[in-house]
Symmetry: C2
Subunit: 513 residues, 2 copies
Amino acid sequence: MRFKVKLLGFEAGKKRIIVIDDEPAKVMGIHALDRVIVRKGDRDIVAIVNIARYLPHDTIAVYDEVAKALDLRDGDEVEILPTERPASIKYIRNRMNGVSLSYEEVYEIIKDIVEGRLSDIEIAALVTALHLQGMNIEEAYYFSKAMVETGKTIELDRYPILDKHSLGGVPGDKTTMLVVPIIASLGHTIPKTSSRAITSPAGTADRVEVLCPVDLSVDEIKEVVSKTNGCMVWGGALGLAPADDIIIRVEYPLSLDPFFIPSIMAKKKSVGATHVVLDIPTGRGTKVKTIGEAHLIARSFIEVGKRLGMKVNCAITLGEEPVGYTMGPALEAWEALNTLMGNWTPDLVDKATSVAGVLLEMVGVSNGKAVALEALRSGKAEKKFREIIEAQGGDPNVKPDDIPLGDKKILIRSEMKGPVLWINNSVLAEIAKLAGAPKDKGAGVRLYVKIGDRVKAGDPLFEIYSESEFKLDQALKVLEEEMPFGIGRIEEMMLIDRIPTKREHRRPFILER
Amino acid sequence: MRFKVKLLGFEAGKKRIIVIDDEPAKVMGIHALDRVIVRKGDRDIVAIVNIARYLPHDTIAVYDEVAKALDLRDGDEVEILPTERPASIKYIRNRMNGVSLSYEEVYEIIKDIVEGRLSDIEIAALVTALHLQGMNIEEAYYFSKAMVETGKTIELDRYPILDKHSLGGVPGDKTTMLVVPIIASLGHTIPKTSSRAITSPAGTADRVEVLCPVDLSVDEIKEVVSKTNGCMVWGGALGLAPADDIIIRVEYPLSLDPFFIPSIMAKKKSVGATHVVLDIPTGRGTKVKTIGEAHLIARSFIEVGKRLGMKVNCAITLGEEPVGYTMGPALEAWEALNTLMGNWTPDLVDKATSVAGVLLEMVGVSNGKAVALEALRSGKAEKKFREIIEAQGGDPNVKPDDIPLGDKKILIRSEMKGPVLWINNSVLAEIAKLAGAPKDKGAGVRLYVKIGDRVKAGDPLFEIYSESEFKLDQALKVLEEEMPFGIGRIEEMMLIDRIPTKREHRRPFILER
């Protein structure tokens, strides 16, 4: 059947979707979410059908992905033809019924996801089934491999290629900004791609972007690495393992993450990594709650890595409180730069040199941590950091004071006396986000105390930074409901929370603008 | 944040969706499929966000459901505010993790589905989880009840109210067109609502529509029933248990149906049924493959019915071949009318009087089947049928020859000799659909033989009816791949299929236009 094209003028989000009125759909026997062939001249694509009412019967509305694929203009004529469901739907159904999938079947599924041939519903069914039934090692390997093969890769023609990744969940974790220059300054190659924040106040790409551009092309990345041995770029637009981004979009509203092993391993393999250290922060608020669980996950990553031809070591790290004293892009870039320049944040240095040390020992260096620490202490790492910033297009002479921080601030002081017993990461992250992070680079939270510090009434606890008074007030409201710190004598602080909530602690804060 | 409205001019399909460009979405910290409040003046609704690229940053595109709810026009200004995820998402997550749901939680989920607050992804996760983990009796009751309470109901102020439903899967099943007039002619109330075909060549609403309108309002239905005791109408636009239609839309691409008990029971409860007979066709090609399985399903329906205050009996029926000799709306209406007028199709009469008989005995009539048969034989049922047709707006004097059948025909004769051993329902249904059914009312298939009949070479097997030569040819192509009949000596016909397919039977057909 022939239709006129109406361009919607925007994208559907990596899916090829057309909209047909329900009357012609009925005539053609097409249902919502069926697939059809869209033909213009001698070019064909497969698109997913949305059924609408009140569209003219001779018109289909098309999203940009379809318009682009067929080079369509308003009023163009296209032919719509029925087509069979992709075989990948059958494979998803089989997987739901407990049939194990061959590599060819996994590849078909991932290919159809990348090419926009599976609807959100079908991807959600796959995600749900894998969440409920678990993904085994073989499948994790298959999905990783298929994600790599359906995307672009960075070919560096070097060996070994080192990389790191953190499972995340700890705010303020600017470890990468130290590990990359340490490793690169010692002559090793580390082409680090990072994500932006999804639900946290800052991702590594957001932090680095305070100092230099991070949105580089594959060719630009190659040039930076050939000059400096390393890079710190945003991986999101490079087309590495693109299936992952689409799957994450479906996982997000469900708060599920069954693909987390393939998701990470595919990204690492796509940049050609041969040696990878995986940081597994553990503790309340992180993804991995216990050390036992961390060991199980570590085994899986190591095994999948082996099958993909990558050597993986895992570092189980402490995730009970933020890393360092800052959360939010600019504050974290400021802290990382300070630390590289010798004004050390002790836990950040310990974590970064430990992680770098593991990586160094994986490629044959003895006493990795000591070597890493020396690279930091000697200023080699700072020098390398500035080289990388310059190669990516930033100012190599940047000083911490040059970094603009939010100028609307509130300092929160303690009303209590005693040791800091616990810190609630997610409350601090929430405050930083309401203050404007990660979009407002200068927004965030700066801590003045960490677990184990002793405070007395009047001592500063933390400071909220924002670029807007309104957002600062929003952030402040969190404190009416939630406490980011537990301070006091342990024998009076054993109750962390009660359900349903009924706050009995008195509010231990004094606000100061 | 304030935006200008751009109307898309068509519906999203019972979901409230707005489209925002990714830049302002980032500023607001909104992700794809998050929910937001859309505010115009003092009116608020909750909508699901789609993120697009290339929309003007100050503009949101809205589907008709949102435009209608807020009475929006192109260029109107609206405010977009963040809102929390509905609690129903948490309940879905809990259910996935094995937590049983309270009635209040199930009600929230169903209400949010009806009000368009859950995305396809979240509904797909629920459907998948219930498919994998199974829905227990308590939940089936809860979901049924919630579906009824979130929709419209038909209040007839009569008692008892009889009803029937078939689980389906057998093509040509026009039983309802006999059961309704039989029951109504005996003075009982039977307000039958039916669906149109989703994947079959005809639904009951499609068949009845050949003879009279079926798209009646609730008030019109009440009037028809008050005049005639019965009706045969389309239930799709009445707003009975509307959650069901939305869930079915998500189940369809997954070919899953975990909601089949609530789906049916909610529709029955919504019309006020007190006594329901459920027809469970069993056999290859139907939904229920074995009699043992049918018994288990029957128990579940009876139990859920009891909790909803409905008496349910189940009739397990033979589903190995089509009911009667016709498939396709007009052919089936023609056969039903003929049968009511005394030109009986034996298996159709046996099935209809058996089902009607069960229903009669449920309300205290002895020898139900004999009573039903007498209503048919005496012409009472035909008289009632014509009354109902007239009350719904059709011609009460319609004769079978008045019904227009497709004028493009092909007769298929046997090249083999022997008994008909099996009939493949799904192949026949496929042929009827490719010939144009259910949209082309005159299209379909007419059988000349059924299982157990003996044929010789040259005997007619079946005839394809169509309204278009092109569709007739399409339908014919099925025969190159598939055989709708198994004919011959049982000792040569034991192989039904092989996988992968390699046809070794010679094609046992002669075509005749």
